[in-house]
Symmetry: C2
Subunit: 176 residues, 2 copies
């Protein structure tokens, strides 16, 4: 039914990574796929407690998620990752290690993120109250060649999910 | 051919966890099984860099290995773990989370370990030069009810491997 691969959602906080990845996860699970969702929060609890938000710590966090995704992928399991993962070079490193890697860039203009501000973080960050906040006081490096790009400010969630699903089918990872 | 399960080797440094687990790993791999070996060194590099040897840090290390083993196990993959994992309660916690958990206690009397002393660590530890050295300056709590007990001071390696293999077959984890 499917191959092992890693589907990696990158993007700024609040852009929609978790929401979209959860829907894709449920759809895959209902189709009978072997699939795991490594969401940023789960990972911070189970793999990366104690790490902070310096570039080094963020890179370590991404490498750990990459290591676990690689173990799953090479055993035929689908690893879904939703993590800000702001630095391009370490994402590329993970991609090279895993091979079967599909990158989804979940974009949303910062004005819209600040307006939504579900967790109230952008307001604080823009007021200078949060150090190392991605996209405000810390860099976010968008992917150069993501397999899928989503703009959550203009697309409906179902459209975004459909784009991801179509790409996975086209690439031969699902629906075999 | 096999179910997903975790085969967890616990015991003091130098007792033979890595050696035995590597042979079991190769044998499973050659039989076509989906299997991963999470050895202490691999784990310290990829999951637990930065953790020390306090009880808290050791427990965190074991929990992380347990988390990854659980992901593999519930997707039908065999997770082999070789880690000192000196504290009983956290091993029991991992066992409860995973369910399909087979514990192998690799025992060897400390006199024999000190005599072998492959890495030259016991000499130093016994001279008081290494703080938190398991079995010397730090506790090792043997399992109360391990599925397999190995004494590497009296058994040949092939015998130990055979005991593990037989138990896995008896329990219905392999050779289905």
């Amino acid at each position: 039914m499917h191959k092992g691969f890693t589907l990696w959602f990158t993007g700024m906080s609040g852009a929609g990574k978790s929401t979209i990845s959860e829907i894709v996860f449920e759809r895959l699970r209902q189709a009978g796929a072997k699939v795991e969702l490594l969401d940023g929060d789960i990972v911070r609890t189970h793999l990366s407690k104690g790490l902070g938000f310096s570039k080094e710590d963020r890179d370590t966090n991404v490498r750990r998620i990459g290591f676990v995704s690689e173990l799953l992928t090479r055993n035929g399991v689908i690893a879904l990752v939703a993590a800000i993962s702001p630095y391009r070079s370490v994402r590329e490193e993970v991609r090279a290690n895993i091979g079967a890697f599909v990158e989804v860039y979940v974009h949303c203009p910062i004005e819209v993120l600040a307006e939504r501000d579900v967790k109230g973080l952008y307001k604080k960050a823009l007021a200078g109250e949060i150090a190392s906040f991605t996209g405000v006081s810390d860099p976010y490096e968008p992917p150069a060649n993501p397999e899928v790009t989503i703009d959550s400010s203009t697309e409906k969630i179902e459209e975004s999910v459909e784009k991801v699903w179509r790409k996975l089918t086209e690439m031969g990872y699902i629906g075999l």
